[in-house]
């Protein structure tokens, strides 16, 4: 289980167009070299915003991930709305 692995994957996919393409055509292969559990890979592959958010993925990584996954802003907000106030970030 690795929050770091999930966040690292999203950070890399933000920057790496080739990885984006490979994630679309072969998600398992694209994630193979990252330290991810089967559940984490499933959450990433399926666009499971709530699952990723609950696992602690940073909102500033989740938002670009959602754009990459083709999730609209209204849909993003609707999905996260039930989690309002549950995981406020603290400095």
């Amino acid at each position: 289980m690795s929050l770091f692995g999930m966040q690292k994957f999203i950070y890399e996919i933000k920057k790496d167009k080739a990885l984006q393409q490979s994630f679309k055509s072969d998600a398992e292969g694209a994630m193979a070299t990252f330290a991810l559990s089967a559940e984490e890979k499933t959450a990433l592959r399926d666009g499971d915003l709530v699952g990723l958010y609950r696992r602690g993925v940073h909102p500033l990584l989740l938002a670009p991930y959602s754009r990459f996954m083709g999730i609209s802003r209204p849909n993003y907000k609707e999905q996260l709305n039930p989690l309002r106030g549950t995981q406020r970030m603290k400095s």
């Binding site: 950070y11 958010y53 909102p59 500033l60 309002r84």
Partner: protein
């Protein structure tokens, strides 16, 4: 003898560029009107270079190696990294000699920023520049401050760093502007993203207008957390305030713009 010829603070929400029309006409006009005023002040100051103090939103820096602050030394800055901002890819000239002076002065002052000769600009810098220097023809030095992942520089430390930046400016032979960009209340990407905190934002702007530096530096972390983690970016305003410690801040606008997910403010330090 170098000179600080301009200073200010400004929000930089990506929505300002990417979905500007989503905001109401009145809020949009108020914000863009104030941005034009700030741009005019910048142009009238005839700067050689603008030091932009701005965070990075996981475009160049990640939690595998996160500096508290990083003075960037690019000869040329490419950007924006985001392809959804509605801003075409461009290049902005750097001023690495000034950047190195800022770095050296910081070390002499007991502050040790990281440095990088190879960063790319993202909305945190480019959204503000699009409004202030729409032709992107003013060279910049980007001073990155981590405001995304704790721990972060304290507000007094940011102010001291700003004072140090000012010493480097004064020792240069350039006319220099300093812009702090970030905040105010917002929590981008979070479940509370549209839950702004106008009370905090107005309080912060009122402290600025009173030049109540001690009170600003004493704002508790918990108060910032309550305003949403995007408000951690008042650090950039404070750093710029340190650089402009002998100037008087004046707020130009505040609008809580839910459609941009941001309490949007602009101030000039004159």
């Amino acid at each position: 003898m170098g000179k600080l010829v301009f200073a200010g603070g400004m929000s930089h929400s990506p929505g300002i560029a990417a979905f500007s029309k989503a905001a109401s006409e009145s809020q949009r006009n108020n914000f863009f009107g104030a941005a034009r005023l700030l741009s005019e002040q910048l142009m009238q100051a005839k700067p050689d270079v603008l030091v932009v103090v701005a965070p990075d939103h996981f475009s160049n820096f990640f939690i595998d190696n996160m500096p508290a602050t990083c003075v960037t030394l690019n000869e040329v800055y490419p950007g924006p990294v985001e392809d959804w901002l509605g801003i075409a890819k461009l290049e902005i000239k750097g001023r690495p000699a000034l950047a190195r002076s800022i770095l050296a002065q910081a070390f002499a002052d007991g502050i040790e920023p990281a440095f990088s000769e190879d960063v790319a600009l993202e909305h945190g810098v480019i959204v503000a520049l699009q409004l202030l220097t729409p032709r992107f023809d003013l060279p910049i030095v980007w001073v990155m401050q981590n405001c995304q992942v704790p721990p972060m520089m304290s507000l007094p430390r940011c102010y001291a760093f700003g004072r140090s930046i000012r010493r480097a400016i004064d020792a240069s032979d350039l006319r220099v502007g300093v812009l702090g960009t970030g905040g105010l209340s917002h929590a981008p990407g979070a479940a509370e993203a549209d839950d702004l905190d106008p009370d905090f934002d107005r309080y912060f702007m009122s402290l600025l207008d009173k030049a109540a530096v001690d009170e600003i530096l004493a704002i508790p972390n918990a108060r910032l957390d309550a305003a949403g983690f995007g408000s951690w970016e008042i650090r950039q305003w404070v750093t710029a305030l340190g650089a402009a410690h002998d100037r008087k801040p004046r707020s130009l606008v505040y609008e809580p713009i839910v459609e941009w997910d941001t309490g949007c403010a602009i101030a000039v330090y004159e």
